[in-house]
């Protein structure tokens, strides 16, 4: 087991390195980073020169890469291209907010999807199953920004009609709130729901399919033939096997949540990673963008690792790889 984990960790390192190189080259290739800046009318040549100087922009490509990697470790991603503001504090702040959002959404999605999926499988073709399936299909078909907007309209109208705030439709917190935790939850509720919906739709189908396959397997038949109670058959024999691919899917999907967060944070005006990326893309400031990509990659790679480890724990066949 230990060697398995070790191997997985070692494997991740070159992946990380290659990813960083890819990110760097790709962003740099897509055009002169100073394009935007040059277009600002009042910027003088000397300002531009100093920017070039400061960021080593006239050095060869590979050297720039090295400088950048250096800056990642020593200066915390360095500073923005345009305003020379340090990147790290911003990233820390927005990452913290986004992680709250994503983790809450993931937990919600996993729990609900597991329950819905298992019940749908065990009661195949029942009304519950049909309703769940309909919900899933709708979930697949609705773009998250649309869902977010609908939720926004709905709860805004509820507020306007009844003068009570159930959930907030924008921002992360209100000034002067009594209970910080409750206030934060009220603000995050709608974004979390938006993010979770797609996950629930997707994963519940997945769990259902997985359970159905497992429930019809030979070893479940053996368990029944031994006289094991139906509930134990489902909870112990079937679930344990069905969870294996599910767990992997969850961990792998974590990366996609960062993408989903982009939209959600935009609609609900949340100061998170998503908004950070969009803003910096808007101003074509490459350093924050690269920092964003790097941070996200690291998180995703770490999660892939976690998924591998859990998978190894759950499925004894893999451990002896």
């Amino acid at each position: 087991m230990f060697t398995y984990i070790l191997r997985r960790v070692l494997y991740s390192i070159p992946v990380l390195i290659i990813t960083s190189f890819l990110i760097f080259s790709f962003v740099q290739i897509s055009g002169d980073p100073l394009n935007q800046v040059r277009q600002i009318p009042r910027v003088s040549q000397s300002t531009i020169d100093s920017i070039i100087e400061r960021n080593n922009l006239d050095d060869p490509f590979v050297l720039q890469y090295v400088y950048w990697v250096q800056s990642v470790f020593t200066e915390g991603f360095g500073t923005t291209l345009l305003s020379n503001a340090p990147i790290l504090p911003d990233i820390k702040r927005v990452l913290g907010n986004t992680l709250q959002l994503i983790i809450a959404a993931e937990i919600l999605a996993v729990v609900l999807a597991a329950i819905i999926g298992v019940v749908s499988a065990v009661r195949q073709y029942s009304i519950f199953d049909y309703v769940a399936t309909t919900f899933s299909f709708l979930g697949f078909a609705t773009p998250s920004f649309f869902l977010a907007l609908i939720l926004q309209i709905t709860f805004t109208n509820i507020f306007l009609a009844t003068d009570t705030r159930i959930f907030y439709t924008s921002g992360l917190s209100s000034a002067g709130a009594d209970n910080f935790l409750i206030d934060r939850m009220q603000h995050l509720a709608l974004p979390v729901i938006t993010l979770a919906v797609l996950g629930i739709a997707q994963f519940s189908r997945y769990v259902r399919a997985s359970m159905l396959e497992v429930v019809n397997s030979d070893y479940v038949r053996t368990a029944r033939a031994k006289g094991v109670k139906q509930r134990t058959v489902v909870m112990k024999h079937a679930l344990r096997n069905a969870m294996i691919p599910f767990v992997t899917a969850i961990a792998l999907d974590f990366g996609a949540l960062f993408g989903g967060a982009i939209v959600t944070e935009t609609v609900f005006s949340i100061d998170g990673m998503g908004r950070y990326l969009v803003d910096n893309l808007g101003s074509r400031d490459v350093y924050p963008v690269m920092a964003w990509l790097m941070v996200t990659s690291v998180i995703v790679i770490v999660f892939n690792l976690v998924a591998d480890v859990i998978y190894g724990y759950l499925d004894p066949r893999i451990r002896y790889d």
Binding site: A225, K226, V228, Q230, H237, N241, P316
Partner: protein, 342 residues
Amino acid sequence: MPEPVLSIRDLVVDFGTEDGVVHAVDGVSYDIHPGETLGVVGESGSGKSVTVMSILGLIPQPPGRIVRGEAFFKGVDLLKVNKRELREIRGKDIAMIFQDPMTSLNPVFTVGDQIAEAMEVHDSSLNDDRLRAKAIELLELVGVPNAQRRVDQYPHEYSGGMRQRAMIAMSIANQPSLLIADEPTTALDVTIQAQILEVMKTAQRETNAATIMITHDLGIIAEMADRVVVMYAGHVVEVGDVGTIFHRPRHPYTLGLMNSLPRLEVDERWLKPIPGQPPSMINLPPGCPFHPRCELFQGREACRTERPPLDPIESQHHRAACHFKHELKNETSKFAQEGAAS
């Protein structure tokens, strides 16, 4: 003869499919007596597995449906008891061994755990140590080497033959009175097959259980069975003891089966298969299910319209379902002709 351990009477099981209703088991009756080995022979689709699975409540309903019938086990009709009672009998009084040991064992639990589960489900008083000790004992009984170590291993660490041994161990854990083996060697190499059959004989000796051996392999029947039930298209077509069935079969299907087997010692120019194809189970021909392929049919009305009853031939112990079985009176299969030992 003593009272049968299991007595199946007129069992009818249907399956609803996209294309229509399949009468997988269509009026099947047979008995099995204590201590005997009953071989149930038939092609895929003959209903031999569905019969026993439905008695044990292992057929999903829907799409399956037990239309009618009775299955008396030690005086209790298994088709009428409630789920809980059936569950108590499964794995304890009646145990089953399945075909494919690769997939029949749960990959995420150790072999020892799974054997222990068979015991623990029926007797919760057993503690973990006792269960483990018993599991090791069973593994040794079925010939798994190094049982002390193997008991904590996972199924994927066992070879195919060993897995099947483990399955057998699991099935006899509770000293069942009836053992049902559904094609236990089909998925295994031929050399391993022989070993497993030996293990089964050991298991039978240990438990004195009656055994239903379901297979399509006549060689296994010859080796293991005391009596034989021949099934075709959901019907029982012939019942008798093994010698009679091999030497003097009285149903044209059985005769055809025997004659289609190649003989190693004799030089045959052509193999003699049974002509035609097995029937579509949705559109079964009326009357005798075998008549489209039967030598004796010859266009006769009775075969086409009336379903032949399973009637005795000279004694209750040998019965065949054929309108014209008497025409086979003087026929003997090629096994008898060569004077093959029973």
